[in-house]
């Protein structure tokens, strides 16, 4: 009780310090240091790091529902992808006449499909504020509808995990279809600029990197405020003894719904920041494997800590970048082995390892 709050959670402080340093140093070393200097950070590296930050935000959001409320979602990739598609649609509209077919009204893929006019659900995406609203609203509304039905019917545990997985799989199949109007198999790509800033320019990349870091810090702080509140204790209570929480008078389904929607919204924001950095969004982002990878990030980092999830996303994706470069066919085996190793040997993840060492020291 007497310890100041930052002393009780060194991991969270470390996360914020690292993010602060990244925000200060990476753009500086990328933009201001000449390319032939040993201190120069390439634009490629900036983009890769920015991608990790988006993954880390999704991991924090997943930890909020899984680590604190016991909802193991195997479909969080769907919220990530939906946020990404909302941003991708805005970026497509920004291309305007600069597409291969030079059609001022329709994106290239629609011209290719011989469509004559823009489908109704594409209207509004010319406007950035509208697109931002959709980034938040589409994942949020889907999570609300799904969660309302699932939690009210008291679907939980492995059954809930399976239907979240089915949800993202169904969305993947739907988005693969050309007549859905989201570019089918190829998805949305060939983006030119965002709010007038050229997406290929190092300055824009650095800006997106900084925004991703700030979004991660913001998402972390919001999630931490939730788990530290009295409502956060209810979440833990629901995770550990759901019936007991109910007999105390808590409407468990509303708590689950609230935290699930918040998590989906944060994940959607992560997806929206991811798309302009990687330059493409396609249905493979809905692949069940992506959602499972997110779970591995959280498990490895240490669930129920928030900062551990962010660190886990960074570590696993760094390993993935290394391994898929050197031995691409090994990655999935490695991921599976990593997950088993963590489950058996490190149930509290990297964060648990650090906490144990601190206690010993």
């Amino acid at each position: 009780m007497s310890l100041p709050s930052w002393r009780r959670e060194p991991g969270g402080v470390a996360l914020l310090v690292v993010l602060g340093l990244l925000v200060l140093l990476v753009p500086l070393l990328n933009l201001a240091v000449p390319a032939d200097s040993a201190w120069h950070v390439s634009t490629y590296t900036v983009t890769v790091l920015g991608k990790y930050l988006c993954y880390a935000l999704a991991a924090v959001a997943l930890d909020l529902v899984w680590g604190y409320c016991g909802i193991l979602s195997l479909g969080h990739g769907a919220f990530f992808a939906l946020g990404g598609y909302a941003m991708g649609m805005y970026l497509m509209r920004q291309i305007g006449e600069r597409g291969v077919y030079g059609n001022p009204l329709l994106p290239d893929f629609m011209v290719f499909l011989n469509w004559q006019e823009l489908p109704w659900y594409w209207h509004g995406f010319d406007h950035f504020p509208f697109a931002l609203l959709m980034v938040v609203l589409v994942p949020g509304v889907l999570a609300f509808a799904f969660g309302y039905l699932a939690f009210r019917s008291r679907v939980s545990g492995v059954y809930l995990s399976i239907i979240t997985q089915a949800l993202t799989f169904a969305l993947m199949l739907a988005f693969f279809r050309n007549d859905m109007g989201f570019g089918g198999n190829n998805g949305l790509t060939d983006f030119k600029d965002l709010l007038g800033f050229d997406l290929q320019a190092p300055g824009t990349r650095a800006g997106l990197f900084v925004l991703s870091a700030l979004a991660l810090a913001g998402g972390y702080l919001v999630s931490r405020a939730v788990v530290r509140s009295r409502a956060g204790q209810v979440l833990i209570a629901v995770r550990d003894a759901e019936d007991r929480a109910r007999f105390l008078g808590y409407r468990v389904e509303y708590y689950k719904l609230a935290v699930f929607v918040l998590s989906a919204v944060l994940t959607g924001i992560a997806g929206a920041l991811y798309v302009p950095q990687v330059g493409i969004i396609n249905p493979s982002e809905f692949a069940p494997l992506n959602s499972i990878e997110m779970v591995v990030w959280v498990a490895l980092g240490g669930r129920g800590t928030l900062y551990g999830a962010a660190a886990g996303a960074g570590v696993v994706n760094y390993l993935k970048t290394l391994l898929t470069g050197a031995l691409p066919e090994v990655w999935l085996f490695f991921l599976g082995a990593l997950f088993m190793l963590v489950t058996v040997a490190l149930p509290l993840g990297l964060a648990g390892l650090l906490a144990r060492r601190r206690r010993v020291a």
């Binding site: 939730v226 509140s229 409502a231 833990i236 550990d240 003894a241 019936d243 007991r244 008078g249």
Partner: protein, 263 residues
């Protein structure tokens, strides 16, 4: 939110005497896969009463508590709280809200939370998500928690994780949580299991103090404990009330001796 439902309007045929007192269980039957856990069970508990429920294993004691708290829905019968509240139409959370608190047979506290946090969650308060997000510990709440913690002998353990407590301490913590809920009816399933003699005596004293302001129903196997607190005892057997009365009356009843006490 309207959780209170008039007994008169719910009763079949519309003729129903307004109930007086605390708990009314009438003609309740529950079966699981053909096994009748409760069989036309009728039980009245008066306001402020301390009632003990005894009976051999499988007599239906825990099922009865499940029915009252909304965990199990009966096939037949009525359950009213006060003269107006039809418990069969409420969810578990709503039943807790109208003032029925329960202590489980196996102590279930939130093991990963501290004793203080367990007590905080139990406090009578606005339990909606938004209110709980914004809630801050007030001085009055702190005083009530300290008072309850002192009553259950856990004042020195407030910052410890509840999972580290001994079995008896967990039982006490659960009773403390029940106190802070400020229920009008407490259902207490096996409060003294795993307690030492001294702890049992303190529990007996506490339960006797509690009755009067509120109604207390205790399920217990420890006959000595029941004898020490009971004013009125109900014996259940095969989902039915076998006998009811003072401990002396019940002990003298030949049917009770046959199925339970004399075995």
């Amino acid at each position: 939110m309207n959780v209170a439902t008039s007994a008169e309007s719910r009763a079949p045929g519309g003729v129903h005497e307004p109930h007086e007192g605390a708990l009314f269980v009438e003609g309740v039957s529950v079966s699981f896969d053909g096994f009748k856990a409760l069989n036309d069970l009728t039980l009245y508990v008066d306001h402020g009463e301390l009632r003990c429920l005894i009976g051999p294993n499988g007599a239906g004691k825990t099922t009865l508590m499940d029915v009252i708290t909304g965990k199990t829905r009966p096939d037949e019968g009525q359950v009213f709280f006060g003269d107006r509240i039809d418990l069969l139409h409420l969810t578990e959370a709503q039943i807790a809200e109208v003032g029925i608190g329960r202590k489980f047979q196996k102590p279930t506290v939130f093991e990963r939370l501290s004793v203080r946090d367990n007590l905080t969650l139990a406090l009578k308060q606005d339990r909606r998500v938004w209110a709980m997000l914004r809630a801050r510990l007030s001085g009055a709440e702190r005083d009530r928690m300290d008072e309850a913690a002192a009553q259950i002998g856990l004042l020195d353990a407030l910052e410890r994780p509840a999972g580290e407590l001994s079995h008896g301490q967990k039982q006490w913590l659960e009773i403390g949580m029940l106190l802070l809920q400020e229920p009008r009816l407490m259902l207490i399933d096996e409060p003294v299991a795993g307690m030492t003699r001294g702890e049992i005596e303190r529990t007996a004293q506490l339960l006797q103090d509690l009755a009067g302001e509120r109604s207390v129903v205790v399920v217990e196997h420890d006959m000595e404990f029941v004898r020490s607190i009971a004013r009125r005892v109900t014996v259940l057997h095969q989902g039915h009330v076998l006998a009811e009365g003072s401990m002396a009356q019940v002990q003298a009843d030949p049917r009770v001796i046959e199925v339970y006490l004399g075995e």
